[in-house]
């Protein structure tokens, strides 16, 4: 235990690598054992947590709000889908890299004017992007097939490295493409390892300073525009990657999946998990994957008619209500609040020890 703790403080890079490999390994083993449906949820959660870790970096660290993250995700999703439709034999990894790069480019495009905008203005601009996204998709109907969306060709066989190193093969009694979940988990592992280092890096610290005090950051030699744009590029690249992954896991893409509601759902679940943290993003991703099935079972449990108006709007009521409640009562989210409670406990026990000591010595 002590060795682990010292590893964490003295060799952080190695610690993060070990932690990532262990977590990815556990997830892969779990993914191997569970039912096909749970496997799909895991894949969805992995993809979504990549999107959320990007937003966690952008909003939590650099303090810029994006209410249009669903649109960035849509950019990645459509990039991957359009490419896969036209070049069915492209390796999956190359296609995901393409989605990431295109996402990053769009992030650069949005991030440049964002350097001139702060707080509410930026939030308003990104919400307009989220609202505009579906009409932009319809505008390029010849590529995106408009409202019908695109169905991806059946994915080619799993990449050789996946079979070779992870022995990931089509499992008995499962759809043949369940190795996609393994891809999603490994990708999420790589993305989280990268982001964990970025959070703790010089860049990450600079971002925090920009959020807390712009003037101090400038005095310390941080270029504000560069820090802001960089945060956008990183967040959009994550969203593009996550969007590309969700598309591959789902096997299709349609504009109705990328309406304003998606952006708000992403933000809600990240705020619940804990914005500005890595584990908060992970929790957010898991919540996202399971939320719709939980809401369905809630509808069944309460005896509501699934076709009733209330059942159809229940997700909005729950997400919207939770978002308000968390902002008012626990703005740090589950992870942040838990950390706060632990820190308070530690401090309280330390002060009580300190108080107890003089009385024993005298």
């Amino acid at each position: 235990m002590k060795a682990l703790a010292s590893l964490r403080t003295e060799r952080p890079l190695l610690w993060r690598a070990v932690a990532t490999i262990v977590l990815v390994g556990i997830a892969l083993v779990v993914s191997d054992q569970v039912s096909a449906l749970t496997d799909y949820y895991l894949a969805d959660a992995a993809a979504m947590s990549i999107v959320m870790v990007g937003l966690s970096f952008l909003t939590g660290l650099s303090g810029q709000v994006s209410l249009g993250h669903g649109a960035f995700m849509g950019v990645g999703a459509y990039t991957a889908a359009i490419w896969a439709v036209h070049h069915a034999h492209t390796p999956i990894v190359a296609n995901l890299a393409l989605a990431t790069v295109v996402g990053a480019l769009v992030g650069l495009l949005v991030g440049l004017p964002a350097t001139r905008l702060r707080g509410p203005y930026l939030a308003g601009m990104t919400i307009a992007i989220a609202v505009a996204f579906t009409s932009i998709i319809s505008e390029f109907g010849s590529w995106t097939n408009g409202d019908q969306g695109l169905a991806l060709p059946t994915p080619v066989a799993p990449p050789r490295w996946l079979v070779q190193y992870l022995h990931s093969t089509p499992k008995a009694g499962r759809p043949g493409n369940m190795w996609l979940a393994d891809i999603a988990i490994v990708t999420a592992g790589i993305a989280f390892f990268f982001m964990a280092n970025l959070f703790r890096s010089r860049t990450g610290r600079a971002m925090r300073l920009v959020r807390e005090n712009e003037v101090a950051a400038e005095i310390a030699g941080v270029s504000l525009p560069r820090a802001r744009v960089l945060a956008f590029v990183v967040a959009a690249a994550c969203a593009g990657l996550g969007g590309g992954l969700t598309t591959m896991v789902a096997g299709s893409v349609a504009p109705s999946s990328f309406e304003l509601g998606l952006s708000i759902e992403i933000l809600t679940l990240l705020v619940i998990g804990g914005i500005g943290t890595l584990s908060g993003a992970l929790i957010g991703g898991l919540l996202y994957a399971y939320s719709s099935s939980w809401i369905t079972s809630l509808v069944n449990a309460t005896g509501l008619k699934p076709t009733s108006n209330l059942a159809a709007s229940l997700d909005g009521i729950i997400f919207g209500g939770l978002l308000i409640i968390f902002v008012l009562l626990a703005p740090l989210g589950l992870v942040g609040t838990a950390r706060l409670v632990v820190a308070r406990r530690l401090r309280a026990s330390r002060t009580s020890e300190a108080r107890a000591r003089p009385s024993t010595t005298t």
Binding site: A123, A128, N309, I317, L323
Partner: protein, 299 residues
Amino acid sequence: MDAFLTSRVVTDILEGIVQGVVIGLVALGLVLVWRATRVLNFALGAIATLAAYLGMGLLSYHVGFWWCFVLCIPFGMVLGGATERIVVRPLYGKPELNPIVAMVGLLFLLEAVVGAIWSTTTRAIPVPFSFIHWTLGGRPFALSPLSVFQICAALVLALAIGALFRFTQLGLQLRATAHAPETSRLLGVRVSRMLTLGWMLSCSVGAVAAVIVAAGFATGLTPSEMEAPFAIGFIAAAVGGLDSPVGALVGGVAFGVIEQFVTDYLNANLVLPVALGILILALVLRPQGVFSRPVARRV
């Protein structure tokens, strides 16, 4: 003359104004709240829609159209005041992100509540005005009794708000609160009430805008009816300057006309992208807004 008045350009301008008054009202609603409390009310569209549903819901109790229309205003006021007291008030002085996130949550919540109560299907409002366009020299003119009603309703409301701010004691207090809250408090202005009142006014303006949108030909009440007007209304307010009510109204009407030209000459899908482009251009050239003065940021 008739040929000129029925030409494509004039038709686009007039139809653009009809759309623009709604955008202008949304922008005005945003500015009223922003000036008073420095919160951007992302839930304005949803609050306005709920108020419009409540007001127009009275139609099924055999209340006349005009009564329903007028009653939307107090419904908007109550909802706006409640929002300020319950959701926004605890967040003053908190990080900038918190009120934004809370308002987005409220937007989502209220849209869902409207859908849960009234379903998401479009409901037509029986407006006592014909949507059939007048003709001039045998050619259709851009306006109809309905669109004149839409423009007049917006104009009357905007003038009433303007008169309230310009000529009444209450308006002076509201302006003083927005300008210098501490000094106003020392001089005996009930600042906290003024903040609530700002929200009430803003949401009643939004409610009227929501009814005007729903009254339009081929539209009606839907839970998400205000999403697109809100997005463009925000852009108009940001371009005009979030501190300037006149800028918001003028910007709104201008964006309505631009929207109509883009729809007519290019494509309806390009309306928001074009508006975004204008916003980005305007903010890069004049970040404080076209109609407001730059303010030094406190260090």
